[in-house]
């Protein structure tokens, strides 16, 4: 077969051109080449296990107050020390993982699903439908960062369900916009046009052809977003607006512990490091995914 020679601009190396269709085999091979990514996947797995089984694997009851033991440093009894009410910081951290991951994954999942559907419809049908949906998206995106969630929570009050609702509503717009862009660039490709001319129903075209190919960048965004949402949840809880008191959450732990910043900094340092660690994993995962899926896309033919 005549070999097309291409240059990858990033590495300025010549590579044989690959076919544009992803296959699962290639995915496994790419992952196998990246030990860093594999480590992240393992850590993610561990994180999920911790999140699910946190209450069972915590050495102490996270809510057990013991004023006598307050603000102790790291010791063999308390791996991360105790907080200002004598609660074990290690147990609090583990249970906080459960809270953060639960809220983040549910919010992102729902926002992703909703955003993708809206984006797909807007991109596929175009015209008035697209205009209306895009204006809605623009309106939501006019509220930067956590401002929209803040407003909703100000009105609805704190609570896990409210928090999930607030975050979902402020996040779906980004997915919708990205998905719409993807769909628009794909829908004019030949194989979609042939499906259309062959008379396939719209929904089938969208589900079978557009979705799988458009979804990749959106999935990468979602992975990076989980980290971002964890940070937002922590921020809102820090301000006292997110999680109700009583449920362990890293942000509210920092908020409550900040007055002991000088005297007992572990109150603040431990949950902060926990957040950083978890968000780091998701950031690496997202970057790794982007690297894996992108590597053969930007090649230049010199023939």
């Amino acid at each position: 077969m005549s070999e097309e020679i291409v240059i990858s601009p990033k590495t300025r190396r010549m590579l044989p051109a690959k076919s544009m269709h992803d296959s699962n085999n290639r995915l496994y091979r790419e992952i196998a080449k990246r030990p860093g990514f594999q480590v992240c996947l393992v850590l993610l797995g561990l994180l999920i296990i911790v999140a699910i089984f946190a209450p069972y694997i915590s050495p102490y009851d996270p809510e057990a107050i013991s004023v006598r033991d307050k603000n102790q440093g790291i010791s063999s009894a308390h791996l991360f020390g105790t907080d200002f009410l004598g609660r074990d910081l290690f147990s609090l951290t583990l249970c906080g993982a459960q809270t953060s991951l639960l809220i983040a994954s549910v919010s992102v999942a729902i926002a992703l699903a909703f955003g993708c559907v809206v984006g797909c419809i807007a991109g596929y049908y175009g015209g008035v439908v697209d205009e209306i949906l895009s204006r809605c998206v623009d309106l939501l995106l006019a509220f930067p960062g956590i401002i929209f969630a803040l407003a909703l929570l100000a009105f609805m009050g704190a609570g896990i369900l409210n928090l999930i609702i607030a975050i979902t509503i402020s996040q779906w717009a980004i997915y919708a916009r990205l998905m719409r862009g993807q769909v628009i660039s794909i829908k004019n490709l030949e194989y979609v046009q042939s499906a259309y001319t062959a008379g396939l129903p719209d929904r089938r075209i969208m589900i079978r052809h557009l979705f799988p190919n458009a979804i990749m960048p959106v999935l990468i965004l979602a992975t990076l977003d989980i980290g971002h949402v964890i940070l937002s949840v922590a921020g809102l809880s820090f301000l006292g607006l997110g999680i109700p008191p009583g449920i362990p959450e890293w942000g509210s732990m920092i908020g409550a512990g900040k007055e002991f910043l000088r005297t007992a900094p572990l109150n603040v340092i431990v949950p902060g490091l926990a957040i950083t660690f978890v968000v780091l994993i998701f950031n690496f995962l997202g970057e790794g995914l982007r690297d894996i899926l992108d590597v053969h896309k930007d090649q230049v033919n010199i023939g």
């Binding site: 601009p9 990033k10 300025r12 623009d138 309106l139 006019a142 509220f143 930067p144 960062g145 956590i146 401002i147 803040l150 407003a151 909703l152 100000a154 009105f155 980290g227 940070l231 922590a234 921020g235 820090f238 301000l239 006292g240 607006l241 942000g251 920092i254 900040k258 910043l261 000088r262 900094p265 603040v268 340092i269 949950p271 902060g272 957040i275 950083t276 660690f277 968000v279 780091l280 950031n283 690496f284 970057e287 230049v300």
Partner: protein, 315 residues
């Protein structure tokens, strides 16, 4: 060109109004809540019970039984025609407008200072990393940016306070008034966006350096520094420019938390205080102001894009 300008400006105004409507509706959606809230601030104490009769009194006094869009229109016309945003529930003799105008200055100072840090530190570092791709410094800087994006900014603020204020005593813990007060908040606020900007500048620069016109410039015999300054940097910065508008938005949203930690008397601080006190008129106005600032900055960024990229100029 002028047609485009007017069109975009009209769109800007409409979006701000639509966003204000959305914010208003969100916060005033349940009339019973609003009445109860007002009663708590004006008639009885915050924690006290509110009787139905009180609620009815308040509702008729403030026209809370009107349909929400009527209430909103009244609010909007009061704003546009008489510059009146209502009165604060908490600071009973102060108009919301006064509160906001007092808070606007500090936020602008903080946001500008942070943005300057982002531009002055982020862009050159990103360029440096691209030009020295995969060198040790590149790897170190990139690792630092991934960490920086993962810290919660409020936690970082507290850590900065711990080190620089409490332990080293170089800078004040909180407050407003001297340049020293500006340092920690501006740095804490700027950290995330700077890290992100370093990464996107690097990516954009690498992509630009791989373009054919750079190779051709080498074939022309031009010197590397000429190519860098006259071809690479300009092309690489164009996609970054549009993103700067978005990151300004994140910066603004970040002021909410950072101002709170450093007791910086800006809009973000005012917003949180009002949310805590359920001072709804102030909350509404703060949100509208923040959204408006965000949209206006993006408007100017979009416009500048038109001046910079000749391919777009004549559309």
């Amino acid at each position: 060109m002028h047609y485009y300008l007017i069109k975009r400006f009209v769109f800007l105004v409409l979006t701000i109004i639509a966003a204000s409507a959305l914010a208003y509706f969100m916060l005033h959606a349940v009339p019973g809540e609003t009445a109860e809230n007002v009663a708590r601030h004006t008639l009885v104490g915050i924690e006290d019970a509110v009787s139905e009769q009180m609620k009815a009194e308040i509702s008729s006094k403030y026209n809370l039984n009107d349909p929400i869009w009527v209430q909103y229109t009244n609010w909007l016309s009061a704003l546009l025609f008489s510059g009146n945003l209502g009165s604060s529930y908490v600071y009973k003799d102060t108009s919301v407008l006064t509160l906001i105008s007092l808070a606007l200055g500090p936020t602008i100072i903080l946001a500008t200072a942070s943005m300057l840090i982002v531009i002055i530190v982020g862009i050159p570092l990103g360029m440096y990393c691209a030009v020295h791709e995969n060198s040790t410094s590149d790897l170190i800087i990139r690792a630092t940016t991934i960490f920086s994006i993962s810290f919660p900014s409020f936690w970082l603020a507290l850590m900065l306070i711990l080190v620089f204020s409490l332990e080293l005593d170089w800078l004040p813990v909180a407050g407003y008034g001297t340049p020293a007060n500006l340092v920690l908040p501006a740095v804490a606020l700027a950290l995330h966006p700077t890290a992100v900007v370093i990464r996107i500048v690097r990516t954009s620069m690498l992509e630009t350096l791989g373009q054919q016109y750079i190779t051709f410039a080498i074939a022309k015999g031009l010197s590397w520094s000429h190519i860098l300054w006259n071809h690479a940097i300009k092309n690489a910065l164009i996609p970054v420019l549009t993103l700067l508008g978005v990151y300004f938005g994140h910066l603004l949203a970040g002021t909410v938390i950072i101002e709170n930690i450093f007791a910086w008397p800006g809009i973000g601080n005012l917003l949180i205080k009002s949310v805590d006190a359920r001072d709804i008129p102030v909350v509404t106005s703060c949100i509208v102001v923040i959204v408006a600032m965000f949209l206006i900055v993006n408007f100017f960024v979009d416009l500048s894009y038109h001046f910079i990229d000749p391919r777009i100029r004549y559309e």
